[in-house]
């Protein structure tokens, strides 16, 4: 493997790993805030117990998200110094904004939330968890602003062959960003719901004293999961239309469509395929579906990979401009099929909810527990679809990935860091998974005893704080 391969492997591995934890954090922060709001408004102890229970899972997960995020922040300069030098004046801006606007908010208020139970008035303490949630969302917002600029660069002029920012508003209203950000936030809420549902389902299967209470969190997560996932799938397909406009290679590769078609059908599966097999066997072709997915019209035209390749070679000089077709084809289907499956399970849950059978349907609870894998598959596939589909560009039309690598870094350096981070990431991912499962299976802790002076004052509770 050469330097480029190593640097790309490292980026892909660390980003995918980071993106296991981030959606869980965003989703669980939101759901925990909802539970605490329910407690604030009703003062029912079961909501407090659920808040504390899922809050622990949130905190376990945040720790890993934060430390893996550090690597992301520094990796651009370490492995991609030529890239950083060229586009830092644009790409760096949302990153700096992320630190200032999002990370401070998230970290500071997480500290206040964890340690502030007995120090802050109830309303203020509730506000702290909402600030944590806002911080996670702002962080996703700024990072997607940066990422979308790589997909569809806007708001710059070329000065002596270098892009220079000249319109920050254009960067902030980049259509790829607006749709992509919405997609990721909805997806994170879906992820949070699925995790909460899986934990609740496991607890319900086990039975035990807190069955009634986990019934509530199961219902909350099912009720939120179905509409949010449906909306998310719609937004995702709209994002596909937007990206097809600016990155036609991406969508053509997602269908392994080598020749231009109109109208275009969508194949459910294929045998063969990849960059060297231009005539894979398509299985079950659904007419018009690709036209709709790529252009929003019944008879839309999708330009094939071969004409696009010729067009790009003429424009940017000789080279191979086709992304990895195999990854594109299967990432898109992996994401869509798993999401559809999750939606079906969600609808099943809704139907059971109407009949008040969620806690008793063993089959559903079993499926809901194992569905915990679904969002991780979906998120990884979605990440591959969008980022691998950008290749061979680091910034579409401006810089090729191979030109972004650090000249001063040697292959040995890269091997050391790839192996080192590989080991560390594996260790913390295992640690996180073990602790999540362990704490997810714990008995619900009893409602904390109220401090005497609070009870006399008619205040519902000053809950003891959590400590390290």
């Amino acid at each position: 493997m050469d330097k480029l391969d190593l640097a790309r492997w490292q980026f892909a591995a660390t980003s995918i790993n980071h993106f296991f934890f981030v959606p869980v954090t965003i989703g669980l922060a939101f759901l925990t805030a909802l539970l605490q709001t329910a407690w604030y408004r009703t003062t029912k102890p079961e909501y407090l117990r659920l808040t504390r229970f899922f809050g622990v899972l949130l905190v376990i997960n945040v720790a890993v998200g934060v430390v893996t995020g550090l690597v992301q922040e520094f990796q651009f300069g370490m492995n991609w110094s030529a890239y950083s030098r060229l586009v830092g004046n644009i790409f760096g801006v949302p990153l700096a904004m992320e630190g200032l606007i999002a990370f401070f908010l998230e970290s500071t208020f997480l500290g206040l939330w964890i340690f502030g139970w007995d120090k802050l008035p109830r309303g203020v303490h509730l506000a702290t968890i909402w600030c944590v949630g806002a911080g996670t969302i702002l962080s996703a917002m700024t990072i997607l602003m940066a990422k979308s600029w790589m997909q569809h660069p806007v708001g710059y002029t070329m000065v002596r062959g270098k892009p220079q920012l000249n319109d920050i508003w254009a960067v902030m209203t980049n259509p790829v960003f607006l749709w992509g950000f919405t997609h990721v936030i909805l997806d994170s809420i879906v992820t949070g719901c699925v995790v909460m549902l899986a934990v609740s389902a496991w607890q319900l299967r086990k039975g035990g004293a807190s069955k009634e209470i986990f019934g509530r969190s199961a219902r909350l997560s099912i009720g939120l999961l179905v509409p949010v996932l449906a909306l998310d799938m719609f937004i995702g397909s709209e994002l596909g239309v937007i990206e097809a406009r600016y990155q036609p290679m991406k969508i053509a590769a997602a269908e392994a469509q080598w020749q231009t078609c109109q109208p275009c059908s969508f194949s459910l599966f294929q045998i063969g395929g990849g960059n060297n097999d231009h005539t894979p066997t398509q299985i079950i072709e659904v007419p018009h579906v690709l036209s709709i997915l790529a252009t929003n019209s019944w008879n839309g035209r999708v330009v094939g990979l071969t004409p696009l390749q010729n067009q790009y070679s003429a424009k940017y000089g000789p080279g191979n401009y086709v992304p990895n077709v195999f990854i594109q084809y299967w990432a898109m289907r992996g994401m869509a099929y798993v999401a559809s499956l999750a939606l079906l399970v969600g609808l099943w849950g809704l139907w059971l909810m109407r009949r008040k059978q969620v806690p008793t349907s063993r089959a559903f609870l079993w499926c809901a527990t194992w569905m915990v894998i679904a969002p991780f598959l979906m998120n990884t596939a979605g990440w591959l679809l969008t980022e691998s589909g950008r290749q061979p560009w680091a910034v579409q039309g401006i810089m090729l990935t191979k030109n972004g690598v650090s000249p001063s870094v040697t292959a040995t350096d890269l091997w050391i860091s790839v192996v080192g981070f590989g080991l560390i990431y594996t260790a913390i991912a295992v640690l996180d998974a073990v602790l999540m499962v362990r704490y997810g299976r714990r008995e619900l802790t009893p409602a904390p005893a109220l401090a005497a002076e609070d009870r006399e004052a008619g205040e519902p509770a000053r809950v003891p704080s959590v400590l390290y």
């Binding site: 905190v59 376990i60 945040v62 720790a63 430390v67 550090l70 690597v71 922040e73 520094f74 651009f76 300069g77 370490m78 492995n79 110094s81 030529a82 950083s84 030098r85 586009v87 830092g88 004046n89 760096g92 801006v93 990153l95 700096a96 992320e98 630190g99 200032l100 606007i101 990370f103 401070f104 908010l105 970290s107 500071t108 208020f109 997480l110 500290g111 206040l112 964890i114 340690f115 502030g116 120090k119 802050l120 000065v159 920012l165 650090s406 001063s408 870094v409 350096d413 050391i416 860091s417 080192g420 981070f421 560390i424 913390i428 640690l431 602790l435 704490y439 003891p464 400590l467 390290y468």
Partner: protein, 336 residues
């Protein structure tokens, strides 16, 4: 002052903020095993920074990201040049961050001592490595005409850089010990106070050495400037104030010593950002690494709006957690 100069100043302030705030967290991380006699003692020490360390660490992220946006050339050369050192730094930060959250998650002595070890080691490595890096910026590294680092990992380990790292580690120790003395009661307060009192004069002597060495490499003569004198005197004052039981004032003096030391590194650098030992013509400077003015303007507006907000809620957080905590409290609480 040009916008680029303003951003250099701001980045110097952010690094200073990092060392002032995360500095005591790092010190607490290094010392929690030494000062806490048993698990409850160690937990108490860790919980003095429990609600604070995560927010404090953001200063490091912001320093890196601000360099990325405002001085892409500096960010690119520094992070790719310090490659393996940055890998180590990230490993140390990961070990530390994980330890805080996971240490208490299992009630087993071997689990806890593992994370205690990671926390101590990580907390030691972070200021050491960053100190080496800052020292290297000032001392000079092999950098060619296209602003690329041309040395290897071993070029980073030069005596002056290492000594800058050691100086910052010792400052973090004093700062952290003083913080524990300020934030605890019982005998933890006494032990931490004693440690702070004993290490502060030693730190002052190390700092004098660092000042002399810095003057030697920059060829400015041996006479220290007022900023350096105040930093050294502040450390002696800290020892005396801790002895008097006035930990609040002592902490103010260690804060001053830390802040002035870090600021003086950047004031020595100015107007350069990385010195090339190959040729002074290849020095990275504010001018030849800065982003165009439009970018700097956008960033200035963002900072003007959000930095005051950040400072306000950070200050409020310190106010909320102003009370001392005691080992007895922690013991009473061990159910969670």
């Amino acid at each position: 002052m040009t916008l680029a100069q303003f951003w250099f100043l701001l980045i110097a302030i952010v690094w200073t903020g990092f060392f002032v705030l995360e500095g005591f967290d790092l010190g607490v991380g290094m010392l929690h095993g030494v000062l806490g006699r048993d698990d409850a003692g160690r937990r108490t020490a860790i919980n003095t920074i429990g609600p604070l360390w995560d927010g404090n660490e953001v200063w490091l992220v912001v320093a890196g990201a601000a360099m990325f946006a405002a001085f892409p050339g500096w960010y690119a050369t520094m992070f790719s040049g310090f490659y393996l050192a940055v890998v180590l730094l990230l490993a140390a930060l990961i070990a530390r961050g994980i330890s805080f959250e996971y240490r208490g998650k299992r009630d087993s002595p071997s689990w806890r001592s593992t994370f205690d070890g990671l926390l101590t080691g990580g907390s030691l490595l972070v200021p050491l490595l960053i100190g080496v890096a800052l020292g290297d910026l000032l001392h000079g590294l092999p950098i060619n005409a296209s602003q690329e680092y041309t040395g290897s990992f071993w070029n980073l380990l030069q005596p002056y850089g290492l000594f800058t790292g050691i100086t910052l580690v010792i400052l973090c120790v004093v700062h952290g010990a003083t913080f524990i003395a300020l934030k605890t009661s019982d005998d933890l307060r006494a032990t931490a106070g004693a440690l702070s009192r004993r290490t502060a004069p030693a730190a002052a002597i190390v700092l004098i050495g660092w000042v002399i060495w810095t003057h030697a490499i920059s060829g400015k003569g041996v006479l220290p400037n007022p900023v350096e004198v105040i930093a050294v005197l502040a450390l002696f004052a800290a020892a005396w104030l801790v002895h008097d039981g006035r930990e609040g004032w002592a902490f103010a003096t260690t804060t001053a010593a830390m802040a002035l030391t870090v600021l003086s590194i950047f004031s020595e650098l100015y107007p350069r950002v990385m010195i090339s030992s190959t040729s002074s013509a290849y020095n990275l400077t504010i001018r030849n690494t800065a982003s165009p003015s439009y970018t700097l303007k956008v960033m200035t507006i963002v900072v003007a709006i959000f930095l005051p907000i950040v400072l306000a809620y950070t200050a409020w957080t310190y106010y909320v957690f102003r009370r001392r905590i005691s080992v007895t409290d922690i013991k009473a609480h061990s159910g969670d």
